[in-house]
Symmetry: C3
Subunit: 278 residues, 3 copies
Amino acid sequence: MRPFALRSAIQNVRDSEPLIHCITNYVTVNDCANALLACGASPIMTDEPKDVEDIASICSGLVINIGTLNERSIEAMRLAGARFAQLGRPIVLDPVGAGASRLRTETACTLLDTLPVSVIRGNMSEIKALVGASAATRGVDVNPDDVTTEENLAQNAEFARSLAAKTGAVVVITGAIDIVADSATAYAVRNGSPLMGKMTGAGCVLTCLVAAFVAANPDAPLEAALAAVVCEGLAGQIAANRMSDSDGNASFRTYLIDAIFRLDGDALEAGALVSRVD
Amino acid sequence: MRPFALRSAIQNVRDSEPLIHCITNYVTVNDCANALLACGASPIMTDEPKDVEDIASICSGLVINIGTLNERSIEAMRLAGARFAQLGRPIVLDPVGAGASRLRTETACTLLDTLPVSVIRGNMSEIKALVGASAATRGVDVNPDDVTTEENLAQNAEFARSLAAKTGAVVVITGAIDIVADSATAYAVRNGSPLMGKMTGAGCVLTCLVAAFVAANPDAPLEAALAAVVCEGLAGQIAANRMSDSDGNASFRTYLIDAIFRLDGDALEAGALVSRVD
Amino acid sequence: MRPFALRSAIQNVRDSEPLIHCITNYVTVNDCANALLACGASPIMTDEPKDVEDIASICSGLVINIGTLNERSIEAMRLAGARFAQLGRPIVLDPVGAGASRLRTETACTLLDTLPVSVIRGNMSEIKALVGASAATRGVDVNPDDVTTEENLAQNAEFARSLAAKTGAVVVITGAIDIVADSATAYAVRNGSPLMGKMTGAGCVLTCLVAAFVAANPDAPLEAALAAVVCEGLAGQIAANRMSDSDGNASFRTYLIDAIFRLDGDALEAGALVSRVD
């Protein structure tokens, strides 16, 4: 790990204010927009095929999140992705619920096969579904059999590296222990809070942060994705520490975005719990 | 009323973590998702006809909320509902704005006629629209002429019981006094806060809680729905008590979901204001 | 300026509780609904062509916000707008992202050409795009070249007045200094907080407030729009003053809506920073 990269990674987002085109679900879209603003980026959402190519042309990063996909938005994903491919700008894919329905699995796999995806971000069940290796995904939640633990970490890191090698994408598998890998290197991140699983959208928000960080650090997608994972994990810890006896998951969600808004490079480096997994 | 049922009703949600498929409006969908997580359930949203049958197959409860219905989502409601009917799992219908437009009234009536709906949840104007008895619904708000008061409570409870007899569904009519009825028994619930009418989505959230409680207590839909109504009403009271001089309806909404997150069976039983209406 | 109008403008909203039909984006729709409730109005959202004419018929104001437009919602905008035109009720247009894509620019221009729009609300880049005078809009954000400053205020006010003359609409151009103009008179409003640019939806929320205020004050659209601009700006200041060291843009968003909920006519008049621009 190169710790200096964390500091510059977030600073580059705040300096360049990348415009991020999100084709994402309508459940967590507001949190995605506010989280992008919190980290220093700027969001724009559109999923109309007749609109996406123009918008894609002015953006630095693309989020494709299939959480509430429909026929129109799938076409928009295809068109926006093709424009990003043409322009050589980063595409981040969040295969929400892959493994839970045929449409989700097929859509995610087709996008991954046909677009030069820079980063894939999902839970282990969703990621496994992309290679036909999944136990059944439990809706949008990870299947308990797929959870990354200290025991299976080395094996899961190897799985992430090999998927990265196969797809050319950085692979981010989130859970109690997060894995961030390219074909050569895998990191484990132990930041975060169990409360992130009790709010909707922690994963969707992370996918957006990854897009912002990769767009602002185009030459270092692995470190950029790693910085985004640390950023959200640390924000989750800060949010958890802020909880009063009356607070629940709704306040936690507010605190999480607040913490992203306030995080700086110093805090990121001081709090990062990152280790390399060989 | 059997008070012990309240405690076990919420405990069963937390123990079984039912996955709830929501076809719902895009206005309050985020609150619906966080409220489901707060009560111990897990949400998944999808309204694409090609996706809903697979998702329905893995879920324990279905919410059909017509708040921002469109031609695609109506088809999705039909398909998901048919799958739930086939599997014998509970469907909860929220006829948002029935009576305010022909499309809403007809869609709600058709769904009610063709699906084995377990629970109907609406305000009195919306519920009356289902039987062609409504004064004009005022958008998504109750018509003042339809409000349940101490004076018309017995009459409205009888209306709820007879609608339950006609449809086979538990009927939940919310307002300052809530009514929860099957064909034999009607309860009045006097929990809640007037602030619930000043935030968007208190009704939508309740519909989701009802689905979670009924999914986790499949043999007692009346008590499960009653427990959900008490749960949200009590959470509304807790949220109202938490309001500072600077707080408004946005903080109230956060506090409401927080309170659901923190409620347990003891608090539910201690705070329930439930009486039988003969 | 007639200061008395501010007090009565907000009081009229609270007294008449106008029902506002919003065809708006799914990113900020929940904030729009809660902000409408906060100011005393009542929201209803629908963008299904088969639903909008019935809903439009029972509403006092219409918001058309093109933030996540699609082919279906564009048709809904057309139909709902035509019904409002027929009924002589106010239409407020928010051309989100006009100038950033051809579809957005053309849709906004067509709506403006074919409907009797009462108020146009946008940032300067979006408003310039409506007359083909824009530098490129930066997504949904203003192009830095278009920002209103003390230096170009008189010139921008003249631009606003001439657009008002051309379209017959009150023109609201928001930024660090807001401009509210009809063909004869332009006001500058210096309320607000820079934090409003760090949350998503401050503009969308304002557009909804404008619709509520104009619906409740149909004979004075200029003063009504002005009161709405002051209302949100003042709420932004109150929200900014409430920020703790842990708070970020997510808490700010909650505080903004809370402050709208608590604002009354006295506070509005005491805090208004309005001046006429000749």
